[in-house]
Amino acid sequence: MTDPANDSGATVLPDVAVEIIDLDKWYGDFHVLRDINLKVARGERIVICGPSGGGKSTLLRCINRLEDWQRGRVIVDGVELTEDPKHIVAVRRDVGMVFQHFNLFPHLTVLENCTLAPIWVRHMPRREADALAMTYLTRVKIPDQAHKYPARLSGGQQQRVAIARALCMNPNIMLFDEPTSALDPEMVKEVLDTMVELADDGITMLVVSHEMGFARQVANRIIFMADGEIVEINEPKAFFASPQHERTRLFLQQILH
């Protein structure tokens, strides 16, 4: 019943990876998320797009509770996110996140960035954590940079390290918050290639991105968000060929020409 890629044996994961029910969030008077309902199946790959300020990142950050909300429920891998710090930590251990600005720890080497959480959150012996980190650094094709500090790496390399760092926690779900928006154009491809490989492995992914080529290639469903609402959810083919809403059509016209 679970995806084979995640079937490492420990626990049986529910078929629904993320469930969001009637979610509302305000920043002061600003209604940033309006009545969001979303079910993400295990192994599903979802790309969220839409104009800036539309609540895409905020929605993503609710899934590991970097943001809290005023109304509604968020259930991740069967664990409901509440005020309870135990639940929050349980979900964060299980959900990897990659940020627009990488957010690598500048005072640690690439390798130490990757082993920090396995050692201190999963209590893994250092040697084992090092080996694990090297595996993932090899997978994102930068094992030779392991002992450098992040500042010495290019933007594309840093973002790949950030992906490896998240993977070192063996997450069942990966969140990507505009992972290529802060990159120079020539580095976008190397990061997208890494993400495509990850998608091929069957991990559940939610990606906020304007990379429509990536969305077309990888996504099972594309979500269009504007003004804090989910305007449209559709499969890529239908989404691009026959968008249901006027706003979606306008948005696609603006970014595809």
Binding site: G96, F105, A166
Partner: protein, 380 residues
């Protein structure tokens, strides 16, 4: 076309060595001291100033100085010595008092041992290439305080006679007060700074009121409060002795100032660092200890050292509650009629200045070398 080729060929070859006009001693002089009319004027002005000041300073402190003698007679003007300079004889005779205060002469080896143990701990802790630095913190923060207490205060069951703190004095007291202040101010300051940024209102209120009250009154007031008010709260037999009260006062004001320095460092860490740490599942304390504080302290290292230097010099204020720190012992010695001579105060204060300068400059240089090392590591 050939003209361009010609010029290209006649250009000096590119090498990794700079042209000689910019290197070597003359190059350095030209680049740094004589690069512009203003610079030349400033350089000449400095030369004139040194030519005027240096000879008289050297004469006073070295050539005309009195190096030995038993009392003021040696340092007074005499036909043989019409303009006597600094009276180093005074410092030599009083040196033991400046270092130990009234610590019993027969027990002073215990103070020497304490200085050695402390110096060993400081070098072990701060020398980046020293072996087993992980153990050095244990030694410095656990072993050393116990050892110091046993050595200095005494432990009758070990055959070390008790020496009441009223007898301690001089450099011993200055070093003890400064070390306790420095060692306590950093961890307490970090806790206060974290408390000030806490999302729990009670914690925040406590931290803010402590910091603002202690910072809002003069240091001398804190010392008086610690010295006069502490005994009111504690039953008589348990009342801490005078030195301990001053130590508590110093630790209080030092940590309040340190809290503000650390807060500045915390504010310099980008929000993304907190988010990345939390997204990985790190708890609050692990996030702080492993991700945020290393960056915050590094960013504010110059300010931390600056606070330490200020604290080291502020320890002289403990004299207001009747403790004989280093400066106070010089004050006491220079008032001795046996040594009443016009050049005695200058000599004493020059000696004090030299002592404080060596320690403060040492701290400053150490901080600079650590900063340089961090910058070389390419972490920034």
């Amino acid at each position: 076309m050939s003209a361009i080729e010609q010029r290209a060929r006649s250009d000096p070859p590119r090498t990794s060595v700079p042209p000689s006009a910019r290197s070597g001693m003359f190059g350095w002089l030209r680049a740094n001291l004589f690069s512009s009319p203003v610079n030349i004027a400033l350089t000449l002005l400095c030369i004139v100033f040194f030519a005027w000041a240096l000879p008289s300073l050297l004469r006073f402190f070295f050539f005309d100085a009195v190096w030995s003698g038993a009392d003021r007679q040696a340092c007074l003007a005499s036909p043989m010595r019409p303009h006597p300079g600094a009276c180093w004889a005074f410092v030599r005779v009083w040196l033991a008092y400046f270092v130990y205060g009234f610590y019993p002469a027969g027990q002073r080896w215990r103070v020497d041992l304490f200085f050695l143990a402390l110096a060993f701990g400081v070098v072990w802790l701060l020398r980046l290439s020293a072996p087993r630095r992980d153990l050095s913190a244990f030694y410095f923060f656990i072993v050393l305080p116990v050892l110091s207490f046993v050595l200095l205060h005494g432990a009758p069951y070990l055959g070390l006679a008790t020496v009441p703190t009223a007898l301690w004095g001089g450099i011993l007291v200055t070093i003890v007060v400064a070390t306790v202040g420095i060692v306590f101010s950093l961890p307490l300051g970090i806790l206060l700074a974290l408390g000030r940024r806490s999302d729990k209102p009670v914690v925040r209120l406590l931290a803010v009121s402590f910091i603002e009250v202690v910072r809002g009154v003069p240091v001398i007031t804190v010392l008086f409060m610690a010295s006069v008010m502490l005994p009111l709260f504690v039953p008589e037999p348990l009342a801490p002795d005078k030195l301990l009260r001053a130590l508590i006062g110093v630790a209080m004001f030092a940590s309040a100032y340190m809290a503000e320095v650390v807060r500045g460092g915390l504010a310099a860490v980008p929000r993304g660092q907190y988010e990345a740490a939390r997204a990985l599942g790190l708890s609050y304390w692990r996030m702080m200890a492993l991700v945020i504080l290393p960056q915050a302290l590094q960013a504010t290292l110059p300010n931390i050292v600056n606070t330490f230097i200020g604290l080291f010099k502020d320890t002289t204020l403990v004299f207001v509650v009747g403790i004989f720190d280093f400066l106070r012992t010089i004050e006491a010695a220079r008032a001795d009629p046996k040594w009443a001579a016009p050049n005695i105060p200058v000599t004493g204060y020059a000696f004090a200045a030299l002592f404080y300068f060596i320690f403060c400059y040492g701290m400053s240089r150490y901080a600079q070398s650590v900063e340089a090392r961090l910058a070389r590591g390419g972490r920034r």
